[in-house]
C-alpha cells in the first residue's frame, strides 16, 4: 500500500525545490555579473544562462521527484539523482544554498529507493 511508504522524499523534494529555485535564479545572475568583469559580455551572459537553466531545471526535477515519490518511487529515486547532479553543478557558481539543496535531494533519492523496495 502506498501509505506505508515514507513521506521523506516528498518533503525533501519540495523543500529542496522551493529553496533551490530562487537561489538558482540568483546564481545565474551572479555568474553573469561576475564573469562580465573579465570576459566579453556575451560569454558572461551565456555562462549565467547555463547556470540558471541548470539550477532551475534541477530544482524543478527535484520538486517533481518529491511529488511522485510515493506513487513511482524508483523513477523518483533516479530523477532525484539527476536533480542532485544538476543542482550540485551550480555550486561552482558560488551558490552555497545549492549544497543544502543537493544534500536534501540526495536524502530524497535514498529514501525513494528504500520506498521502492518496501
Amino acid at each position: 500500500m502506498s501509505n506505508e511508504k515514507s513521506n521523506v522524499p516528498m518533503i525533501m523534494g519540495i523543500i529542496g525545490g522551493v529553496i533551490g529555485l530562487p537561489s538558482a535564479v540568483c546564481a545565474g545572475a551572479c555568474v553573469a555579473g561576475l564573469s562580465s568583469l573579465s570576459e566579453t559580455s556575451q560569454d558572461a551572459s551565456d555562462l549565467g544562462s547555463t547556470y540558471l537553466i541548470m539550477g532551475v531545471l534541477g530544482s524543478l526535477l527535484g520538486l517533481y521527484s518529491g511529488i511522485i515519490g510515493k506513487s513511482k518511487p524508483k523513477l523518483s529515486g533516479i530523477l532525484f539523482l539527476i536533480a542532485t547532479f544538476m543542482s550540485g553543478i551550480t555550486m561552482i557558481a558560488g551558490n552555497m544554498i545549492a549544497l543544502i539543496v543537493t544534500i536534501l535531494f540526495l536524502i530524497g533519492s535514498v529514501f525513494s529507493f528504500k520506498n521502492s523496495k518496501s
Binding site: S2, I19, I68, S71
Partner: protein
C-alpha cells in the same frame, strides 16, 4: 523582519518560499490522508496534474502581474516580478482541465479533491506574505486591536515612509482561509463553497489592502475583485447547473 533565515557561510533562505513549500507538503499529506484507498496509478496521475498546476500557476501568477501592472513582457519581469494568487489559480485550473482531459479523469472530481490542497497551501502562503511584508493593508488609524507595525526597511515601512499601524490583511486572509477549510472539509461538493466563500473573502479584503493593486480599463474594482466576482459566479453556475453531481471520486478508478 522575518523575511529570511540567514545560514552562516551559505546565504539566505526566503521564509516566504519556505512557507509555500510547507503549504504544499501539508496539502499533499492531507490529500494522501483523505484518499488512502486510491491506487498508485491514480496517485501518479493526480500528482502529475498537481505538479503541472503548480508550474502553470507560477507562470499565470507572473503573467497576471505583467498584465495588470502594465509591465513589458520580458524574461526579467517574469523571473524577478511579483506573483498574484488569482492569476495563479486561474492558470492552475486551466492546466488541471487540460491534463485531466488527457488522463481521462473527471475534471470536477479532481478539482474537488484538490480544493483542500489549494486552501492549505494558500493559508501557509499568506503567512509567508506576512513574514515578507508584502500584500499589506491600509493604515488602521491607531486601532491597536486590528493594527500591526512593520519594522524599518520592510516593504510597508518603505511604502508609508514611517512605522505606522496597518491592517494585517495577510493574517485576515489566512484566518478566513482556515475557516473556509473547516466549513468545506466534509462537504461532498467543495468547489461551490470554495469559489463563493473565497471570492467573497477576497472581494472584501481588497478594500483593506493598500499595496499596488494593478489597474484595469474600468477602475471601479481592482483586478482581484473582478476575478473574485467571476469565481463567485462560476461557483453558483456549478451549483445551479448540477455540475457538482459529476463529482464522483470513485469513478476515476473506473475511468483508468
Amino acid at each position: 523582519m522575518f523575511d529570511h533565515i540567514e545560514i552562516k557561510y551559505f546565504g539566505n533562505i526566503s521564509l516566504y518560499n519556505l512557507l509555500i513549500g510547507l503549504g504544499i507538503i501539508f496539502g499533499i499529506l492531507y490529500f494522501n490522508y483523505k484518499n488512502k484507498d486510491l491506487t498508485e496509478e491514480y496517485n501518479f496521475k493526480v500528482f502529475n496534474i498537481l505538479f503541472s498546476s503548480l508550474i502553470f500557476g507560477f507562470i499565470g501568477s507572473r503573467i497576471f502581474d505583467i498584465i495588470f501592472f502594465y509591465k513589458s513582457l520580458s524574461i526579467d519581469n517574469f523571473l524577478y516580478g511579483s506573483s498574484t494568487f488569482m492569476g495563479g489559480l486561474l492558470f492552475s485550473l486551466i492546466s488541471i482541465r487540460i491534463i485531466s482531459y488527457i488522463f481521462r479523469i473527471n475534471f470536477f472530481s479532481i478539482f474537488n479533491s484538490l480544493v483542500p490542497f489549494i486552501i492549505i497551501s494558500h493559508f501557509f502562503g499568506r503567512i509567508g506574505c506576512f513574514l515578507a511584508g508584502c500584500c499589506f493593508g491600509k493604515e488602521s488609524h491607531n486601532d491597536y486591536l486590528f493594527g500591526v507595525t512593520f519594522p524599518k526597511d520592510s516593504i510597508p515601512y518603505n511604502f508609508y515612509g514611517k512605522e505606522t499601524l496597518i491592517h494585517p490583511t495577510q493574517l485576515y486572509e489566512s484566518f478566513l482561509l482556515l475557516l473556509i477549510f473547516f466549513i468545506i472539509k466534509n462537504k461532498k461538493n467543495k468547489i461551490t463553497p470554495y469559489l463563493i466563500f473565497y471570492g467573497t473573502t477576497r472581494f472584501f479584503i481588497e478594500f483593506f489592502r493598500n499595496d499596488p493593486r494593478g489597474e484595469m480599463i474600468i477602475n471601479l474594482l481592482s483586478p482581484s475583485q473582478f476575478l473574485s466576482l467571476i469565481f463567485m459566479i462560476i461557483g453558483l453556475i456549478i451549483y445551479f447547473l448540477d455540475y457538482y453531481k459529476r463529482i464522483r471520486l470513485n469513478d476515476i478508478k473506473i475511468a483508468l
